[in-house]
Amino acid sequence: MNERIEQPEGLVAPFASHIAGRSGRADALAALAFPRRKHEDWKYVGAQLRALKGKTFVAAEAAPGLSLDALGLSAIDSIARLVFIDGAPSDTLSSIPDGLDLRVSALTDAALAERPEALATSFEGDWFAALNEAGWSGGSLLEVGKNTDGGGVVHVAFVSTGGASSATLPRLLVRAARGSKLQLVEEHVGLGEAETFASPFIEVLVGENAHVDHIKIQRASVTSHHVARLAVHLSEGAHYRSTTAHFGGAFSRQDVVARIDGGNTTCELHGLVAVSGRQVSDTHSSMDHRKAHSFSDQLHKCVVGGKGHSVFNGKIFVRQDAQQINAFQLNRNLLTSLGGRADTKPQLEIFADDVKCTHGATIGQLDAEQLFYLQARGVTPEDARGMLTYAFAAEVLERVPILSARSEMARLLAEAVR
């Protein structure tokens, strides 16, 4: 019998019925302590954790009769759309045409049990992942068949309709089979101003020689708590390119674990964070090179205004005998206001010698000379700041391969930094 550690009831109770149905997972959750500032991975967001711990949430109830227009989703040029309303998939709002190479089905515990060990253990010991593992419901399984081209973009939208104190644990498992191709846009939208809690857990299996482009747009309501987990597993010859943009949430936290389990692989994890007001956004990533011959790249940029706070912790692991690795990482932070704060901790852990790994981090403000240059040409100081801030962040958007997603992100960015 495991020793039971006291759990924050307000976060666990909304999912009690699902947790009760998965006894093994429930025990795993019960054995974990809710993170605190003392935990190295949470050291900069102790206040957010304390606030979250003290809240009482209720299970979200899907609001009926919503029209697609009312959701305000980004205009993504997609061939298929999968919409979740308050955690439950909506048949009326989703649109999966027949004859596609991809298959969407309800996720089952059995499908999760078939995950490769390396993927399933990505978030071992993580409280929020354990909560999702035990308490998720209404998840989906998205599959692309062997050697098929998905044919276009799949738009997956998680909408929180803003029921007061509602909590959801979205779950999505993506399986891109050998030689397949998939373009995925994942979007989180919050309607209204209510304080909500969501802890999505997305897993992506990139099979041999498969290509997956994964864009995430997070625009939860500015009072909400968004704690996301993303686990990616790459097989031999796989390509995975992702860009995540965080605009919403009072507190947003994203942890990404990419396990690069084969040679001739490419893994890109780019990120863009624009926070203002009292928003806090924390991104942790782990680029785990487990086999020889692979390449990874990561560009993470944060624009911090108001009394906002950005945190970045990017780990690059190169395991023993994983030779011939090229891994690059750059984190740049722009503080645009007096009260803003940025903390960054790039981290390299290298156990092989034939590697080229670099990381860089900068924190700074806009260049006074550049501002002067623009002003000398008649641009107002406000416009000059806006232009330069936008240009700083836009470097990340250039890496987004899906054009409609790119222009939506550009629009959201321009709004965020205005």
């Binding site: 704060r341 903390d343 901790k345 790039p346 790994c357 670099t358 981090a361 924190i363």
Partner: protein
């Protein structure tokens, strides 16, 4: 090509010998009584005893830190003897009166005290185990008004300065090892540079650990008054022992307005044998306070020895326009582990700091850079530049980087760069095609890799350090 390098790496510890000098040693164990005895033996004033007891009470409440990227068997603090002094019968008036056996050890280490007086312009305060034996050049320094003496002498002669500054930069409760040091330290060095004085020579202390099972707890305090300047060198070698020895030193530097302190270290304690048996535990707390405006503190270190190193020389940049610098080369081989780096805490306006760290790991060793750059909300216009490069030699070693950058002022500019790589085949080929053999090529590439740090070392040290790297890495590249 790995075999060539391997033979060079495997060169046994050059300075491994045990000198047989009669020691006055306490039985192992630590309690309040031991602390009172140390204090009484040294004839300390009441404030020192109070300081020690307060530190001991604090230490009892603390637990040994485990966040560092190092693995070791924790020391049994009750199995250590906390006092060991070479038996000194009376004060020596000149070097001739010093135990000839002791002088012979220095001879072996290449620091002939009497020759040094004439040949180089360096004053040496040799700390043998815990009590300073001889201090040279005292007179020249005294003429300039510089105080350079052992810590115990300073406690007797300048208690008011000690009382004012002791524990102000590294508080008793700073960490587990600093608390332990504060309770039981037996000796160390004290330097005081009066206002406007430029020290007429570079000050140097050679540390040695002798006598098996004796932890050495050094305490160094350097106070530079307004407008003064001092360069301090510290170098260490130790005899070869099987049981792990603990070294928990505390170094405190205080620089007042416009003062500059340059602190250089070459550390080459016994690192254990090829299989990781034995070696020194080096748990050191070093910190400098740039108290006054425009003051500057610069740390330069070459860390080549010790089985386990845990050391983060830092600067608190409190005065406006003050400057902190950190230059480091850390080399690990066989089963050595080093977790080292720096802390730059920017409090004052327009404070600047620069960090250059070079890590080289070979064999099965692990080398970590851990650093923090913190810009406080009031540190307007602060500037930091950090560069940490790691080089891996062999496929069973590890290089790790843990930089923490916390910025709470938008006018600050902080840059951090790090890279990890190995000696390129192409670079080696380039040298070889010009008739330079592999070993020389490697040694040249490594010197080039560390050049920026060696440039900061005083001349004698730079030469010694370069040689040391050569010896440490011989035979390991391939």
């Amino acid at each position: 090509m790995s075999s060539d390098l391997q033979t060079i790496i495997d060169t046994p510890y050059k300075y491994g010998f045990v000198s047989d000098i009669e020691s006055d040693t306490f039985p192992p164990g630590l309690d309040e009584g031991v602390i009172r005895r140390i204090s009484a033996l040294k004839g300390e004033p009441q404030f020192m005893l109070d300081f020690r007891l307060k530190a001991y009470a604090q230490w009892l409440k603390m637990t040994e830190p485990d966040w560092a990227n190092i693995r070791y068997t924790k020391a049994d603090y009750q199995a250590i003897s906390y006092y060991s002094a070479p038996k000194v019968k009376e004060k020596k008036a000149s070097l001739d009166e010093v135990d000839p056996e002791l002088l012979a050890i220095y001879e072996k280490l290449g620091i002939p005290l009497h020759e040094q007086k004439m040949l180089s312009n360096v004053a040496v305060d040799a700390v043998f185990d815990s009590v300073s034996i001889a201090t040279t050049f005292r007179k020249t320094l005294a003429e300039a008004g510089v105080i350079f003496c052992s810590f115990s002498e300073a406690v007797k002669d300048y208690p008011e300065i000690i009382e004012k500054y002791l524990g102000t930069v590294v508080p008793i409760a700073d960490n587990y090892f600093s608390a332990l040091n504060s309770a039981v330290f037996t000796d160390g060095s004290f330097v005081y540079i009066p206002k406007g004085v430029r020290s007429p020579m570079e000050l140097s202390t050679y540390f040695r650990i002798n006598t098996e099972n004796t932890g050495q707890f050094e305490r160094t305090l350097i106070v530079a008054e307004a407008g003064s300047h001092v360069s301090y060198l510290e170098g260490c070698t130790a005899p070869q022992f099987d049981t792990n020895q603990l070294h928990a030193a505390v170094v405190e530097l205080i620089a007042h307005e416009d003062a500059e302190i340059k602190y250089s270290t070459v550390q080459n304690w016994y690192a254990g044998d090829k299989n990781g048996k034995g070696g020194i535990y080096n748990f050191v707390t070093k910190r400098g306070l740039c108290e006054g405006a425009r003051s500057k503190i610069s740390w330069t270190q070459v860390e080549a020895g010790s089985a386990v190193t845990w050391k983060y020389p830092g600067c608190i940049l409190k005065g406006d326009d003050s400057v902190g610098e950190f230059y480091s080369v850390a080399v690990t081989n066989n089963h050595q582990q080093a977790d080292t780096g720096t802390k730059m805490i920017h409090l004052g306006k327009r404070t600047r700091s620069k960090i250059i760290s070079k890590g080289i790991s070979a064999g099965q060793s692990h080398n970590s850079y851990r650093g923090q750059v913190k810009i406080a909300p009031g540190a307007e216009g602060a500037r930091n530049y950090s560069e940490c490069d790691s080089m891996l030699i062999g496929d069973r070693c590890g290089a790790h980087t843990f930089p923490y950058i916390d910025v709470a002022n938008p006018t600050a500019q902080v840059e951090h760069e790090a890279s990890t790589s190995k000696i390129g085949e192409e670079q080696l080929f380039y040298f070889k095609s010009r008739g330079i053999d592999e070993e020389d090529a490697i040694s040249m590439i490594i010197s080039g890799f560390c050049k920026e740090v060696f440039h900061e070392l005083p001349m004698e040290f730079a030469v010694e350090a370069q040689k040391l790297l050569g010896i440490k890495l011989e035979g390991s590249v391939g």
